[in-house]
């Protein structure tokens, strides 16, 4: 099990009802962790164009997780 710090942004934050959450997880990847979060937070759902960053670096959904990681879940971006 790893301890990771999850942060939700924008629509994900509103859907989950929380911005920051420390979780103990056996998820092997960012994608698995997000799946776990959708089970934990009822309002949170999958978005095809969602992105993920780990420790302030853009990452992929297959990227592995380490103890202490800060995982940022971004809903589809809409800048400009």
């Amino acid at each position: 099990m790893k301890e990771v710090h999850v942060r939700f942004f924008a629509a994900f934050r509103e859907a989950a009802g929380v911005e920051l959450e420390t979780v103990h997880t056996s998820a092997a990847s960012a994608g698995e962790l997000f799946n776990e979060m959708t089970r934990k937070f009822q309002g949170l759902g999958h978005e095809p164009a969602a992105l993920v960053a780990i420790n302030d670096e853009m990452s992929g959904w297959d990227t592995g997780l380490q103890d202490g990681d800060e995982v940022l879940f971004f809903p589809p971006v809409a800048g400009g």
Binding site: E14, A15, A53, F74, A78, G79
Partner: protein, 115 residues
């Protein structure tokens, strides 16, 4: 800032920005533009927080010896900024409702009416 989206009148826009990564990715995009188009330098500024109708949300400036490359670089930068930067836009409608743009399954929040 456009004042209509799918027939609903927009009262104001709200931009949420995750600055550490927005700046990092933004700088990466500018470096890419310099490599691709041979421009001297470029700058991009994006507003965050509340914007009123008519406000400018983003500005791209490019310095180049040749105007052709400058315009192409500017186009590249704005296209990449819109696709890659952790920035989110929330439209607040005149009827009090609000919606995060581009988020298909996101629940639209029904904001408390201030007045």
């Amino acid at each position: 800032m456009r004042n209509h989206n799918q027939g609903r009148a927009v009262e104001r826009l709200e931009y949420e920005v995750y600055s550490p990564l927005a700046v990092k990715e933004g700088n990466a995009i500018i470096e890419e533009a310099r490599d691709k188009f041979g421009i001297e330098q470029a700058l991009c500024v994006h507003r965050s927080g509340d914007l009123a109708l008519g406000d400018i949300a983003v500005v791209v400036g490019v310095a180049s010896a040749h105007r052709d490359e400058a315009f192409r670089a500017a186009r590249y930068i704005i296209d990449e900024v819109k696709q890659r930067l952790p920035i989110w836009k929330k439209e607040h409608y005149t009827d009090g409702d609000a919606h995060w743009v581009n988020c298909q399954h996101c629940a639209s929040t029904h904001t408390e009416h201030a007045a």
